[in-house]
Chain length 151, copies 2
Amino acid sequence: MNSTLVNRALKHAEALCRRRGVRLTEQRKIVLRLLCVSDKPISAYELLDRMRGVVKNPAPPTVYRALDFLLEQGLVHKLESLHAYVGCTHPDHPHASQFLICDDCGEVTEVEDAGLAKSLKTAGKAIGFRTKRPIVEVLGTCAQCNAKRDE
Amino acid sequence: MNSTLVNRALKHAEALCRRRGVRLTEQRKIVLRLLCVSDKPISAYELLDRMRGVVKNPAPPTVYRALDFLLEQGLVHKLESLHAYVGCTHPDHPHASQFLICDDCGEVTEVEDAGLAKSLKTAGKAIGFRTKRPIVEVLGTCAQCNAKRDE
DNA sequence: ACCTCGGATGTTATATTGTTACATTGGCAA
DNA sequence: TTGCCAATGTAACAATATAACATCCGAGGT
Ligand SMILES: [Zn+2]
Ligand SMILES: [Zn+2]
Ligand SMILES: [Zn+2]
Ligand SMILES: [Zn+2]
């Protein structure tokens, strides 16, 4: 994400938190910014490294707490299969999104296929299962890497 | 899984491995059995503990190697969101299944919704993404726990 | 301005999950 | 038998995540 978009995203996040009566503190904003400027997912300990210099003496709880908050607010997502985190590309509204993860270049695309989410929910309901958080992470190769491979 | 079903599953796995020309060794069979007898997912280190007494001096690589083999052969699945493993309920054929995970009682149900898998693949293809391994883990509550909650 | 209370942060230690590296063993076939 | 390669043994370590407790800080009430 370029810096203009990042700033816009941060402004947006601030407004969102203000409306909700929660505090987007400096550290939380720093972690959110780090995730937004990156076009790839970042692990908690990588975030920790990148916080050095901006924050005095960050420890694991520092970053995990910020992540917990941002996850709760839907501003970032965790990629379970990678143990890594990404900024949400459309935090405006609550959503159940899916992730396409390129295991070649590492790029991650967040898509929001409402139909898919719905059919997933329906499939569960058929056996009495009440869906809370559907996790969908598709591992494969992105268009760009496929093109490169096929040259 | 009751012991009759477990034995059947193990026989089945042996036949499968023989056909494929791979070796279902004693340790691998032990891990597979442990996963099959359990109705809940088991973590690697929990498996390690349960191997003591059956295996002399198991260490982490012992269990991770067995798991790697079983995962490759499609005899078990890893639940990324739980860092735990389950025996496959229908290893006969290659498949992309989904998991319904009850965060109340811990029960996991493996379902195989081919339509869902297909629409997932199609959604990726629309943007040039080539799917290798779709991960679908739905967190929520199972029918039994819902009933209990609603009493 | 002062107090107070709860949320946010600092700090240290520890738990949990997974891997690397290298030595040793064991089945299988030339 | 010999040689080879997969499987296992063993020790150390890396990566991810949480627990526990002290301290700080800021919004709201007095
Ligand atoms: Zn999102
Ligand atoms: Zn790629
Ligand atoms: Zn399966
Ligand atoms: Zn349940």
